[in-house]
Amino acid sequence: MIDTDLENDVGSRLIMEAGSSSSVRTTIVPGNGVDRSVQVVAPPRLLRDLWRNLALLLNSMPLFKVFVRRSIALRHTQSFLGVVWLTIQPVASTLTVLFMFNIIQVNTADGANKGLFLFSGIMVWQFFARGLTDATSSLHAHAGILTKVYLPKLMLPLASVAAAWFETLITIALLILACFVFGIPLSPRVLWLPIFLTIVCLSSLCIGIGLAPLHALYRDVGMMVPFALQLAMFISPVYYSTRFIPQKYQLLYHLNPMVTLIEGVRWSLLPESPAPELGYIIINLVSIVLMFGVSLFIYQKLESLVVDRI
């Protein structure tokens, strides 16, 4: 361990009282004309700030990569088991539910392999929920840095979702492995799997960006989000097939983007699962984009307040 009496903090005659490093990147201010290396710090104005944020983000790729790496490292160093934990949870859940459904003699899989049906639903939901909670807490978790370092804050929720996205590979691997375990043959449809999972990632981002500043500002958001996710899980086809929903509610039901996405994942893995309908897919994509717009708006509006209050 460190020999701490190597260090002595005698401070009576000072030349320099130094803190520690923080920094500012040179901003290329779009449309600023004359001097491209001048940074202007001005009162918050929504559209101008949004534009600048995005430009700054593009210029900060190395920093972004560092944050993503940090996010990934954090996700795995937090728990001793790391990646293994990622697997154990859904597997345990699947086995438990499978067992219980067997006992109460309920079959929700609508013809598909029960084990894989449940496993795929649970995995996708876990993926979404984790992405969302990580993005939501990203600003609050970096409170220290936010008040002392200048960086494009949008980067933080983005980095957490990017870190989640890197784990899609693991998720895909697990799902394919599960296919072998349950003896389901793979078809070319499986190529759609990464696409669906990416869209799941993006939806968690779309909501997470707006929730992040709210969580940083208000304490109760941290409790509401897991609660809302719990409820949302029940109105998503995690444990049951969408075909059980009565016809008159199908449209309403499909307004939930996760419905279509879970259907899509199942379709790509299981030969018996139906393809999600194109109409619903379009509706969902549109609503995701709308959610993104609203979230971005909320984020930008609250960004400066977060630094003041955090």
Partner: protein, 410 residues
């Protein structure tokens, strides 16, 4: 354009009072209910702050705690947005605002250096090139691969400082927070500052150490309660900042005086301008004004002063018979002023004992009747031989003359 321009920067913080301030649900309910019991206070951390710093200048910012210095720095570095007004900075900014900023406790020192370098806008190669220099400067070679959280606060601060300074920003902002490092490290830091100054880097320096400010800055700014009180020549700004001394005894009154035929009535300490004060700058002349009464003609009546430090008895003493031959002192009330040379007493706390008498008979003796302190607000004391902690009881200036040429063979 100047390196840093601040235009009428104002910053308001709204503090919400009440239980609902912290919760989203609370806030939404407030929008609907318009509850009057929930108030919000406006706190103006900064008001219409404006100034300019030219390229290559070292500019000081002084002010009491709470005057808005940190907020101003945060705005200049872009961390906090102003409520109104603008700040413009040209060039890459490196700022030291607090210990451990931007350093992640779980990463090693090495990883943190790279991380911070990236924050500063440099790519890996440039950081790698400077890496050894940074580590050597911070004196943490042995621990560079251990986790940052295991570093002592001094090590943390040194590494932070080393990173910011060695990665050569174009504008450097230094907010003193902790005293770090021993004397050797501080001297290294001062050297590095001078180097940076020579390279034309603009430095913004916030400190409570007036000597350091005076020694390094040419211009400075005084903030009080968020407003700019004064900006300009560093000497004048520091003068405006120094509060009038509240401790020390600048005046003592003896009423009608003692029963002795020659007695003290009043004694006070004044500076050159005649103001009564108990705090003197090391460059000031200290005047002791004494009023006394002689009740009957006294032969060889003498007044004396002894100056003591806190621990030692006598620094020096003055008797009024030094400068003139005293014959018979008339009766009446008189005043004399003792003028002490500037650059004589070192920094520290002193007291004055008053005594009077005639040969072989002492009259009054008032021990430590007056007390004062000597401070250094206009000189940077770092290299001075008469610095407080260096040996020597008083300042007595001599001159070094180079005599080598005189020895030329003839």
């Amino acid at each position: 354009m100047a390196a840093i321009v601040a235009e009428d920067i104002s910053k308001r913080y709204r503090i919400s009072v009440g239980r609902s301030a912290n919760t989203l649900v609370g806030q939404l309910l407030n929008l609907v209910k318009r509850d009057d019991s929930v108030g919000s206070e406006d706190i103006w951390a900064l008001r219409d702050v404006g100034f300019q710093v030219e390229q290559g200048e070292i500019f000081g910012i002084i002010g009491r705690n709470g005057s808005g210095k940190s907020t101003l720095l945060k705005i200049l570095t872009g961390i906090v947005r102003p409520t109104s007004g603008l700040a413009k900075i040209r060039g890459r900014v490196g700022a030291l605002l607090e210990v451990g900023t931007g350093f992640h406790p779980d990463l090693s020192g090495r990883e943190n250096v790279f991380f911070n370098g990236t924050l500063l806008g440099l790519d890996r190669a440039s950081i790698q090139a400077k890496f050894d220099e940074i580590v050597a400067f911070a004196e943490v070679e042995k621990f560079i691969d251990t986790q940052f959280k295991h570093y002592s606060s001094g090590m943390q601060a040194r590494l932070g400082f080393a990173v910011a300074v060695n990665l050569r920003p174009e504008v450097l902002i230094l907010d003193e927070v902790l005293s770090v490092g021993d004397l050797m490290f501080q001297e290294k830091s001062a050297d590095r500052m001078t180097e940076l100054r020579r390279e034309g880097i603009t430095i913004l320096f916030v400190s409570h150490n007036m000597g350091a400010i005076a020694g390094t800055c040419k211009r400075a700014l005084l903030l009080r309660q968020g407003r700019v009180v004064m900006v300009g020549d560093v000497g004048q700004v520091i003068e405006a900042y120094i509060p009038k001394a509240t401790s020390g005894n600048a005046c003592v009154n003896f009423g009608e005086g003692s029963r002795f035929p020659g007695c003290f009535l009043e004694a006070s300490l004044e500076n050159e301008s005649g103001e009564q004060t108990s705090q003197f700058d090391i460059t000031e002349s200290i005047n002791v004004r004494i009023r006394y009464r002689v009740k009957e003609p006294l032969s060889s009546f003498v007044l004396g002063l002894r100056i003591h430090t806190q621990l030692e008895d006598i620094v020096v003493s003055y008797m009024t018979d030094e400068n003139e031959f005293i014959g018979v002192h008339e009766t009446g009330i008189f005043e004399k002023v003792l003028k002490l040379h500037p650059m004589f007493l070192k920094e520290g706390e002193y007291s004055i004992t008053l005594e009077s008498g005639v040969p072989r008979f002492a009259f009054d003796l008032y021990e430590r009747a007056l007390s004062f302190s000597v401070v250094s607000n206009t000189l940077n004391m770092v290299e001075k031989s008469y610095r407080r902690d260096r040996s020597g009881k008083v300042i007595c200036q001599g001159r070094w003359i180079d005599a080598s040429a005189a020895r030329a063979p003839s």
